[in-house]
């Protein structure tokens, strides 16, 4: 391992020269952790996450990560993460599908406990029948808990979102966990080009005293809430304590937005802003949408793409603005419930223009051709099915 020098997050994330590497999504997670000055990583293995945490284990062996262990299972892993972060450490963990749901009770308590941490999610089918394929319905479970949730389209996003996740989560006005989700296998086990800053640089160590509440003060939240839980109080005190604290968590979540602009260039990316028909997508579906947008452009069709990088905070204003002249909105997704389509419908005044789909589930491929069919339909172009 090379001697690493501490540089400002702005330098490492935004300015440092970058070199192009051809790596898997799992490697991209590890490359980010390598440069993030992580104190401890704790996880329990599950496909397709195992490869990432194996690589992070290698980083521990090489000296990049100070401590590492395999927990007893996900509930234990995610609880231990909270403990480590409370103790002042910078921590990383990752999980997938059923593992995420097993750890969920601990994970959704992180925002209320103000645990700044980065959690990688490599999506995988949940519910029965059992499968290891990359359906992403599990992301829906994360959207209502106060977590900052970023959704990576490709290996480059995995690296950028994970590295930026640490300073975003630790900002005093945010101080929340950041989830970096991406599709299992499609991104984690496939290679893509990633521009990487030098590996002899790392983020400054976490400063636990730079916090909205002094870590040692037990008389104010969140420690006070732990010691004197509302459950021990009268009903009215319970209502009040929980209500004001959840308000504060969600305000903090919205405050993360300016840092998403600062480190990641904003919560959305718009291709062809003057389009008539837009594809709105996140994660891998955005890659398929990007391909469809290019095909459509080659056919002379006025189609645009809005890639949603940040699911929480949700870019309500940005999406409303970008879609104000849209005639139709296509929302391709890798799950059966259509959580993104619902989010998009909720933030525009004319939700009738949103096409529910195309959707694939069970983790299957989302063919670009399915998106193209919706584009033709939206533009009133009659086309025969053109494949066998």
């Amino acid at each position: 391992m090379p001697e690493q020098r501490v540089v400002e997050p702005e330098h490492l994330i935004l300015e440092a020269p970058r070199e192009r590497k051809f790596i898997t999504g799992s490697q991209a997670f590890a490359e980010a952790v390598k440069r993030a000055n992580v104190d401890i990583a704790i996880a329990y293995p599950i496909t397709p996450q195992s490869e990432t945490m194996h690589l992070v284990g290698d980083l521990f062996a090489q000296g990049y990560v100070k401590d590492y262990y395999r927990a007893e299972e996900e509930y234990g892993a995610m609880s231990a993460i909270a403990g480590a972060v409370r103790g002042g450490a910078r921590a990383f963990s990752a999980t997938s599908g059923p593992g995420l749901l097993r750890g969920l009770e601990a994970i959704v308590s992180w925002p209320g406990h103000r645990i700044p941490v980065v959690l990688g999610i490599m999506t995988r089918v949940v519910n029965a029948p059992l499968s290891i394929q990359p359906d992403n319905v599990e992301i829906a479970y994360l959207l209502h808990s106060g977590l900052v949730v970023l959704h990576a389209e490709n290996q480059q996003d995995v690296f950028d979102f994970t590295l930026a996740g640490f300073p975003i989560s630790e900002k005093v006005d945010v101080y929340l966990p950041v989830v970096v989700a991406t599709e299992g296998f499609f991104v984690t086990h496939a290679k893509g080009y990633v521009e990487l800053p030098p590996e002899d640089m790392k983020l400054p160590p976490r400063d636990p005293y730079k916090a909205p509440v002094p870590p040692t003060d037990c008389e104010i939240p969140p420690a006070r809430i732990q010691r004197d839980a509302p459950v021990q109080k009268s009903n009215f005190m319970s209502y009040l304590i929980h209500a004001v604290w959840q308000q504060e968590v969600w305000s903090a979540n919205r405050r993360a937005m300016k840092w998403i602009y600062h480190y990641l260039g904003g919560p959305i990316e718009v291709v062809n802003p003057k389009a008539d028909v837009f594809i709105v997508a996140s994660g891998c579906a955005a890659a398929q949408g990007r391909e469809a947008q290019r095909y459509a452009e080659q056919e002379g069709l006025n189609v645009g793409l809005i890639k949603v990088k940040s699911l929480r905070p949700f870019p309500e204003k940005e999406i409303r603005e970008a879609l104000k002249n849209a005639k139709a909105v296509i929302v391709p997704e890798h799950n059966i419930v259509g959580w993104l389509a619902k989010e998009v419908k909720a933030v525009i005044p004319n939700s009738g223009i949103v096409v529910d789909g195309p959707r694939v589930y069970g983790g299957m491929t989302l063919p670009v051709e399915l998106i193209m069919e919706e584009i033709y339909k939206a533009l009133g172009i009659k086309r025969e099915r053109t494949y066998a």
Binding site: E183, F186, A287, Q288, R290, Q298, M364, T365, P367, Y387
Partner: protein
Amino acid sequence: MKRYNIRIAGVGGQGVVTSAHILGNAMSAAGKYASLVPFFGSEKRMAPVEAYVRASDQPIYEVGEVVYPNVIMIYHPQVITHGKSYTMPFYTGLKPNGMVIINSDADIIPDEDKKVLEELNARIFMIPATQIARDIAGTELATNMAMIGLFFGITKLVTLEHIEKALIERFLGGSFVASGGTTALDSAIEKKFKKKQELLAKNMEVIKYTIKMAEENKWVEEEEEKVAT
């Protein structure tokens, strides 16, 4: 933009996945783009295997299996005759004006399938790849080389040098030290290395043969017509 979405169907042991990697590596060596999808099934000898490669002179965004290919490569006749495939019939999803490359020494396409392929205006290339591999490399294990040789012979996406570079990467990998000094290599490594080099040379011969085959039969694709913009 030249874009090939390729589905390769064969049976376990034929080097379907290996040749997908070589295809991708050759594109990368040529400074172009390729992506491949690893298939997560239970692989075993003579069981169906599929691999998917996307190759282009432009960056590739989409991921996942190729459901609607414009190139289908059939490595084993039993894919068609015995239905040894995850995709039935073998041409499922083929786009118009695509191509199908089949390893067979006899015409094995049923008449009804031929009609469908005709309607799609598909170009069909049938070559005895296993026979070619046996004759030239002395092993049918080089069947996959004959197949990718023909693909590159038809498409001219990369040069012979790029293919060789891809083969070196695949078969010699990290062990290839051009200026290593022979004293540094003990005899065992040397022997192994020599064997690998022989393998490489034989594979290249097979590839050269099918590239020439494409040229002699005038199967080489014409340059894309310039589209006025």
